[in-house]
Symmetry: C3
Subunit: 280 residues, 3 copies
């Protein structure tokens, strides 16, 4: 794969501190010609709740596939910074991933590598490569104890986005930490899941993949049963609808209102899915 020059940033830094700017600065300092536009930096989001790996997995799963092949995705949700947690750069068939080796990069990894539950150490799938960047020769002159995003990940990401190979950023590794998929299994048309995320509009995204929910289903949530799929947000009038979200999950929504509020549910709350005959 050829780097396309794009570096995306996903962090739990918020926008009130100088940390995001320091990441941008470190990327630009490391890029061969900062002003030429050869490096394009895109902020995915910096609103991951502090240290929340699950939120980071959801956000990156939604965002990363939208970018061109050859992008470098940096994810800095790193509560273990300074400890002995690993730090890796991984090359997949579509992109490079740079971040802590804690499983938090898993949304960019092939399904075949992901364990059924929790996290596991998994060998890289065929055609992939990875490097341990904890002691990368590209590190900042002085590496802080608390900001490896700036001092290690940014220079590595800039180098990869500029076309340098993984061998130049650190020693090869063949096994990385991988987290289970966020999606809940649907077996014989039924599943037990949870609310993965409530978005700004109050849409509640469940952990069921729409592709597994079938042509007709119902969702039990907050003591209510919602039949789906609806064709549009507006289809339910003033009632909550269930429909495929723009990221492929079953989503509960309310036209011009908050489904989460109407249902009295929040992130993590349990949800049940049941297929139904389409006439049901």
């Amino acid at each position: 794969m050829r780097a396309c020059g794009i570096v995306t940033l996903t962090t739990d830094f918020g926008l009130d501190d100088a940390y995001v700017a320091q990441l941008h600065g470190a990327l630009l300092r490391a890029a061969p010609s900062p002003a030429q536009g050869a490096l394009r930096i895109v902020d995915v989001s910096h609103a991951v709740p502090p240290g929340d790996a699950t939120a980071a997995l959801f956000l990156s799963e939604c965002a990363w596939p939208a970018f061109p092949a050859g992008s470098v995705h940096v994810l800095v949700v790193d509560p273990g910074v300074g400890s002995d947690r690993g730090l890796v750069a991984i090359e997949t068939a579509e992109a490079w991933l740079v971040g802590p080796d804690t499983g938090v990069l898993s949304s960019g990894l092939p399904a075949s590598m992901r364990p059924a539950a929790a996290t596991a150490r998994s060998p890289l799938a065929g055609g992939m490569a990875a490097a341990d960047i904890r002691e990368t020769p590209l590190a900042a002159a002085e590496v802080s104890r608390t900001f490896h995003g700036r001092d290690l990940m940014a220079p590595v990401a800039a180098a990869i986005a500029s076309g340098r190979g993984l061998e130049s950023v650190g020693p090869a590794v063949s096994v990385v930490t991988v987290a289970a998929p966020l999606a809940s299994p649907v077996i014989d048309g039924a599943g037990e899941g949870r609310i993965l995320h409530v978005d700004r509009f109050g849409n509640a995204i469940t952990s069921f993949r729409a592709s597994q929910a079938g042509a007709a289903f119902e969702v039990e949530v907050g003591g209510r049963t919602v039949a789906g799929p609806a064709a549009t947000y507006a289809a339910g009038g003033t009632a909550v609808v269930a429909l495929p979200s723009s990221s492929g999950y079953v989503e509960l929504a309310l036209a011009n209102g908050s489904a989460a509020e109407a249902l009295g549910v929040g992130r993590g709350d349990p949800v049940r899915l049941r297929r139904r005959s389409s006439g049901g």
Copy 2:
């Protein structure tokens, strides 16, 4: 007009979800050479309150004129997504506008097209062109029911910004939906208006154009009368002043404080304007 390569984004997505990143990604995927810097994406604001067309009109009216001619302005405030609302790309004398055909793009349209009140279907002014992009051939491979910003508007905007003509994005249309101006009429030196917006500083921007308020005026608001125009924020000392805002409206402001709080007013509250003799 020639595209200048700039695409601006104004949405009600907030910055906590992956939606803004997905827009950026879709634009970059659709651009011919993502890394070359040929496309420049600028976030105007993603803080439009969900579905709030009036706020979007105010924000875009302030922001869009600041950009170079030939920019492509994308506005995704689209509560009717998935319904039969129209979706258009419009070429004006200064820019292209891409978004729902609900009137929400009106800040970029010539004054001659805008109705006196509410919204109306208006023929395009001379020299303009528009296309219906609901079934654009540039659409994403799979079009979601809930995110036409990503699946339809972004590829259209990227194509236009890259120099492709409107004829390539969808069939021509000659009539679009247009909303009334936000500005309140001032007749014989008097007008009844409202607070259009309260900004982060507590400045309360009224719906009166400063150019219509005359050389000396007074504003009745929250039971108080404020004479204007003041020369600067500081001119009033610890009192609220009225002066031309940076976007051309009469603005109520308080040096080192919040005028909105001092006056006890918020967005939508009524305001009266009266011209006065400059000695008054």
Copy 3:
């Protein structure tokens, strides 16, 4: 020094209004070839509390050194806009600074120019240059009374970033307003300081430079004594630790929690530092 084409923006505008977009637009309009990527605009942060010069000094001190030499740093925290406060562009050995001549640009100035307390008028250090840009020939066609960031600073910054010399932006000045350093003095291994900043994670950054705190020290804060330096956030287990922050100050932190909350302290609260023998 040669401009590298980067312009950074630090303001108290927030992200809900159109002001940041207007800055971007004004920069792009002033740049010779907006679409070519010759100008790169980076948002440092727009979350400076309204008019808060001290917060701006801290943020810029953390962020600016991260950028490549030859960057142009624009800082718009300008409660005196429209008054007779000065407005300057300053060339240092590393960068250009553009903003109000109130001392708020001081983080980019050499230590030798900074007074011990408050603000003072200081002659430029050797090799530096500055221009008064209040009446810059590059001003917008119509200069507002309330938004000099857009109407004066942006066109000046774009010109400098595009390679134009300071002589083209306004008349030379040789004395500018400079604020005292944020760092508190440490004398004979002891100092009285304050909490400079509490970040999103609840880390409380003190006003003591880590380089002055010595190999072993203790911090008195909120009625507690914290020994330092710790090697990592995690080193303290469930207790607050003191360690060098990523910007070089002594920072109080709590693994997976908020040190500020645990200590019951906030920005501005007093802190004492005392060196200790490393065995202590």
